[in-house]
Subunit: 227 residues, 2 copies
Amino acid sequence: MVGESSRIAGHDGLRSDALRNRQRILSAARAVFADHGIDAPMATVARRAGVGVATLYRRFPTRDALVRAAFAQQMDACAQALTEALADPDPWRGFERLVETVCALQREERGFPAAFVAAFPHSTREHARARERAEQDFTALVRRAQAAGALRADFHPSDLAVALLSHCGLVTALPDDRAASRRLVAYLLQSFRAEAAREPLPPPSGLSLRSFPLAAYGSPAPRPSGA
Amino acid sequence: MVGESSRIAGHDGLRSDALRNRQRILSAARAVFADHGIDAPMATVARRAGVGVATLYRRFPTRDALVRAAFAQQMDACAQALTEALADPDPWRGFERLVETVCALQREERGFPAAFVAAFPHSTREHARARERAEQDFTALVRRAQAAGALRADFHPSDLAVALLSHCGLVTALPDDRAASRRLVAYLLQSFRAEAAREPLPPPSGLSLRSFPLAAYGSPAPRPSGA
DNA sequence: TGCCAAGTGGACGAGATCGTCCACTTGAGT
DNA sequence: ACTCAAGTGGACGATCTCGTCCACTTGGCA
């Protein structure tokens, strides 16, 4: 009852100065992760944010929590891209745009690819549900594009994971080479078209999209602690 | 004059017991790098090889030297694949086999992809020459396949780097998923075929193959120290 | 067999990173 | 203005990794 007013005002139950620090930390984390990789010392992030390490650890108890929060925006954008893809009246264009949008996100935010491939073992219950929904939606997108005769019939939903992970690897190895990234996306999309199916493919990967961070789909920004 | 006989017998000027240890270290390194990544502590490699750290450091003064030596076989196999590709009477089959062979190497030896993408800043003069030759040979392979009408005309030699790096990223993220790797290779190769060229591609990457570890091409196995 | 250069292993000091603890400061409600 | 729970910073001990040093062992030639 006491102090509830401030609780709903901010982002969480945080005091205004704490909330400000939280933002500075996230911004610093993105910068540091981009420059020195996702394994950069926590103290570096704290220094860059102009806060003490204690503040950093209080807000984000583990590195995973920090990484997740730092790139929550990008994750959400991926999720939104999927929604928009399904909404597109042209099945192929929807499919194509999904791949292009997610790859563009990976290409433009330097630290994001590492966060994208990182396995998040301690995912929330909400994340599990979100993943399932993402998987279903993507499968629907695939079926629709195949029914329209645009996407090759032997395309398997797990091929999305193959495409996104390989693209992730490319932009991780060459963070500055946008041309390479665009080139790969173009090759992959052309080979996904129905007309490109001249030869049979080897069997698809058993990889479930569920194990995938496309994940954050529709989920709220993760809580600072506990998550 | 003295002791020269033993010098030519072994691998380097090493005593027989030292040579044996060298092999055990390399074997241990491959195992450890496969299990714990290429950044695993040097002491772990030493323990697994059953030698002291001093022995490890004496033989391989830097981590780079160890990594390089541990995967020299794979590097050489890549180089040999290029030679064989050029020797193949069927230009397309030569091209296809090169990509498939290199990707298979990345897929089968778990630590190799990390070594493959790792930049080797202190490369030898021989390596520089070897790279140049690899670049020329590969360009020749591309031109030949294009002249035969099998490889699409807008394929750029740097696209090989794009393909290999993205595949590297995929197998790094999913070391156990051979199906995914094969699937990507199949998609890429199909999209490289001349018949797949229905839409123009974005401009190629400026990436030179020279900056690439395909590199080891024709070079002798790197010396334990000095290199 | 004896010699000794080559080889060996493990202890060790330096340096980095982690995550906690605690005395101090501050925002915001009254 | 006063109060105090919420928030803060940086010191600190624990842990890890690195690469060197040195006293001891051993392979191979004479």
